[in-house]
């Protein structure tokens, strides 16, 4: 087992001298022009943990041949799903792409699909979008636009297989609320590089949950930027990496305005010799962002030998006038004492392991707020654990 924790917290710059990263997150290039981003070699700061060779076709500046099959729940009044031509799609994207995969996804997607919720519309039932890959290369561009004081839950589930790259733009107007759930339930050979960029208007609330269970390589890069005061973002993530899976979640919360709140909570379990997870959590509190309150957490549970969890929290603080800022990162072995305790009460090894892993994820699962998703997730986690048991038996 390899566990690395590259903690690079820059302590409150106004008070002390922490380790300062070479470059501020604020300086990262963004552009619709894919040529601005050379093909990654794996030595770049943001690609250094990624299996770039598996992503080759995603880095190729070529038209893509495949598509995803869309199945959408019935859309209530005030909700529209429309095709948007390329120029318009770019104009409505809240921020330019932050890497080559994302820029090429926009370039070759042939326009975007836009899910738009009209102002003051409160959608009670979750809006579900199922995306099924049928193989081949697919480039996607999706706009999620929540009008002023509108409120909705959107669950996007990816299944099947593809070599898929995408840019998802999330636009929350003033006082809007969105619960966005992204489920990566791909077949085991899928490759997925996605960028999610969110802009939060004044007093808006974004709750984003990412669940990554399937796929060979899944690399999701989520950015949330505050554009108005009083907004809040909660980003939750749950992943379970088996042998042969690379699951990478990068996050960037940009506190550019005062009085906003952010919470990032990601938890992962790893099992199997070549299971690899990466979590990079960047939070930037700019000089103007007084009264910021932020906390980010990543925890990894390593169930078997050979799995590798990289965890890199990174907090940059440019003002001392904040409410709170903190981060925690912990990666631990599966706790044998917990197993012994449960088993000493007659509970079998298999069942004890299920209880411990379910317990590890319990609080996160309850945060999703969509009962159907929570239930199916518990079942899928049990399946993942059953899979671990098989692997352990083969050892």
């Amino acid at each position: 087992m390899t566990v690395t924790d590259h903690t690079q917290a820059t302590a409150d710059a106004a008070h002390s001298h922490g380790i300062v990263p070479d470059k501020s997150r604020a300086d990262r290039v963004v552009s619709f022009d894919a040529d601005v981003f050379p093909v990654p070699t794996g030595r770049e700061e943001n690609w250094r943990f990624s299996p770039v060779r598996d992503l080759r076709s995603i880095f190729a500046d070529e038209p893509a041949d495949g598509h995803l099959e869309w199945t959408t729940s019935e859309l209530p009044a005030g909700v529209a799903l429309t095709e948007v031509p390329a120029d318009d799609a770019r104009a409505r994207t809240v921020r330019e792409p932050g890497d080559r995969a994302s820029a090429l996804a926009v370039k070759h997607s042939g326009g975007a699909m836009a899910l738009t919720i009209a102002a003051n519309t409160v959608v009670e039932e979750p809006i579900t979008i199922d995306l099924r890959g049928t193989g081949g290369d697919v480039r996607g561009h999706l706009l999620v636009e929540i009008g002023q004081s509108a409120e909705a839950t959107v669950v996007i589930t990816r299944t099947g297989t593809a070599r898929y790259s995408e840019l998802v733009s999330v636009d929350l107007r003033d006082n809007a609320g969105l619960n966005l759930v992204l489920l990566q339930q791909w077949d085991e050979d899928a490759i997925h590089a996605g960028e999610v960029v969110a802009r939060l208007g004044r007093d808006s609330r974004l709750r984003g949950t990412v669940v990554t269970l399937g796929g060979k390589v899944v690399r999701l890069n989520t950015s949330a930027a505050f554009a108005g005061e009083g907004a809040s973002v909660d980003l939750f993530g749950l992943y379970f990496a088996d042998s042969g899976q690379h699951q990478e979640h990068q996050l960037f919360v940009d506190h550019a305005v005062p009085k906003c709140t952010s919470r990032v909570t990601y938890k992962g379990a790893l099992a199997g010799k070549t299971a690899h997870s990466v979590w990079i959590g960047d939070v930037l509190i700019r000089a103007a962002a007084e009264g910021t309150d932020t906390y980010e957490l990543n925890r990894n549970l390593v169930l078997t030998d050979g799995a590798r969890a990289d965890s890199v929290p990174n907090l940059e603080i440019e003002t001392g006038e904040i409410e709170g800022a903190g981060h925690a990162s912990a990666t631990g072995r599966f706790d044998e004492e917990q197993m012994f305790y449960l088993r000493s009460r007659g509970i079998s090894e298999d069942q004890a392991r299920k209880l411990v892993v379910r317990g590890f994820f319990a609080d996160l699962i309850h945060e999703i707020g969509v009962p159907a998703v929570e239930e199916s997730l518990l079942k899928q986690i049990d399946l993942e654990i059953a899979h671990v048991e098989e692997e352990l038996e083969h050892e």
Partner: protein, 251 residues
């Protein structure tokens, strides 16, 4: 009627300095309905004895035997030992975050009995047992031992013992860290289990205080990995007055 029989038990642990023998030939027999107090200085191996009987993977049995009603306990897995009727109330109960107490208790009961308990009676049993131990019903929804105080953890151990109804129970310093009220409540729980199920008890303790509530039939002095002397309740009084110096000098 059950009998736990420990014969010439030798146990080692792996330390950075090499293998270390901790138990050096323990002999002890506990029958249903009997209470055996085990008293001895820190580090003498009392917890090691308790954990070895329960099957903790850290300990290696190098010699001797442990049987329950003639069945070889050492051949059993940890959960099989519990199903056979052994229970260990731990000195330091383990936190299992995210697993609710009620889910845990029901899962354990189902495992021990081999079938799920009848929901109605089970809910009533749990509620009653918690009331008896002055545990707030809200504990049912909390994570197992998660954020429990020392005393709450000990009550939770006894709660499990009352619900799982073992044949032989090992209580490892269940009295340590309890105030007088909590000590009385926990002791009542142990005595209830003894009265209703004829439980046999190995009671590991440093203090005679608990022996006023739970009357021992036998007292064993445990020194340097073996039983150095045995006697009746009067031996406990003498230990409290004189300490273990007499045994340590000769050990």
């Amino acid at each position: 009627m059950s009998t736990l029989e420990i014969r010439n038990l030798h146990v080692t642990v792996e330390t950075p300095e090499g293998t270390k023998e901790i138990l050096k030939g323990v002999d002890l027999t506990i029958n249903s309905g009997e209470t055996h107090a085990i008293m001895g200085p820190n580090g003498s191996g009392k917890s090691t004895l308790a954990y070895s009987i329960a099957g903790h993977p850290k300990y290696t049995i190098t010699e001797g035997s442990v049987t329950l009603d003639g069945e070889d306990v050492l051949e059993m897995s940890v959960d099989e030992r519990a199903k056979a009727g052994l229970f260990l109330a731990m000195q330091y109960p383990v936190e299992v975050p995210g697993v609710s107490v009620s889910n845990f208790l029901r899962t354990a009961k189902t495992a021990i009995d081999g079938e799920a308990p009848k929901l109605r009676t089970w809910v009533k049993d749990v509620k009653g047992a918690m009331e008896n131990l002055r545990m707030d019903p809200a504990f049912g929804e909390r994570g197992v031992n998660e954020g429990f105080s020392g005393g709450e953890k000990k009550r939770h151990e006894i709660l499990q013992m009352e619900l799982l109804q073992p044949k032989i129970s090992i209580l490892d310093e269940t009295d340590s860290g309890l105030d007088v009220d909590a000590l009385r409540i926990v002791s009542e729980g142990v005595n209830r289990a003894k009265d209703t199920t004829g439980l046999g008890i190995m009671l590991i303790t440093h203090y005679t205080r608990i022996l006023r509530y739970i009357k021992p039939d036998f007292v064993h002095v445990f020194v340097a990995g073996r039983v150095a002397e045995q006697g009746g309740p009067e031996l406990a009084e003498r230990l409290e007055a004189e300490g273990y110096d007499r045994y340590l000098a000769s050990a």
